[in-house]
Symmetry: C2
Subunit: 175 residues, 2 copies
Amino acid sequence: MNISTLCLGILALGEASGYEIRKRFEGPFRHMHEPSFGSIYPALAKLTRDGMVSCTVHSQEKRPSKKVYSITPAGRLALRQELESALPGPDRIRSDFLVTMLFSDILSPDFIDAAVTERIAFYNELGAVLQSNECGGNAGREFVRGYGMAVCRAAVEYLETVQRSTQDRETLTAA
Amino acid sequence: MNISTLCLGILALGEASGYEIRKRFEGPFRHMHEPSFGSIYPALAKLTRDGMVSCTVHSQEKRPSKKVYSITPAGRLALRQELESALPGPDRIRSDFLVTMLFSDILSPDFIDAAVTERIAFYNELGAVLQSNECGGNAGREFVRGYGMAVCRAAVEYLETVQRSTQDRETLTAA
DNA sequence: ACGGACATGTAACACGTTACATGATTAA
DNA sequence: TTAATCATGTAACGTGTTACATGTCCGT
């Protein structure tokens, strides 16, 4: 899924400026994508050239003016066609944490323990952000929110179980 | 986590050829990384130049010879230093499925249903692969295996719940 | 005879990030 | 006055994928 399609999708849910599109991915969906301005602005420019979105400049007081983009009927059609052209491909989890854990045999137990503890905090916080985000919108957002929460819960549960069993083993060794 | 570190880590768990490294990511860990030959071979060449791994050519009968790489003490040290230099960064889930679902409002219900059904099958299969993979190795593999299974279970559970509630709603509408 | 597994490698390409460039307003 | 937020945009760079190039052996 390229940034262009992502922007088009966001605009299908409501008009926004490039800056605002970025902001939408700083909240509950930051674990999915965090596109940079360097990719968003060129994408919006191209979408405009291709007639997928239209752009209006909004002047603001005490703020720089912003370019608000709206999806056009052609853009909506193109988005549908692209998304429905094939079932979505497999998910890929880019996790330095899991890779690190995969090689845990050659790392120090203290480091591993710190990494697990940090990751529990990470997923607890993500879960909390998702929960607090309340039904702030459409069915799609609700689905993704629920999915994220389910996965966060499962991750924390697993990590805590592993950590407890590690601590038990240490207590046993110490005794 | 770049391919170079990934290769080094794999070699820390045992010697392998470039082709074999690729194979290791076709099994239970294919949801994490699926590095291409075009990235593995140059990475191994560079690791060799840098003295991180050593390379021996194994001639085989009825098969092309292969270059088997082994991690060197320097490589093991470098790997530890790199991994322990900082706690792993946040996980990122690249999921065309979730992005599609996020925009489900403008897509056909049939397509959404098909996508969910397919994804349930996907995670059921991944869960099965992880389960069948048995304690085939070190503690790290076991951890990642367990983590993957927990997440798969949670995903399938959530998806099935959503699908059931959608079907209920349809039954209600039809009645 | 043809496709697939084994096996390695290079070159072109796509894509996104980081850094740079600019500039106003506001809170500490 | 220093940093942060708002706001847009370009250029250089890094990293990985796809396609290409080559060759054997095996099953059908």
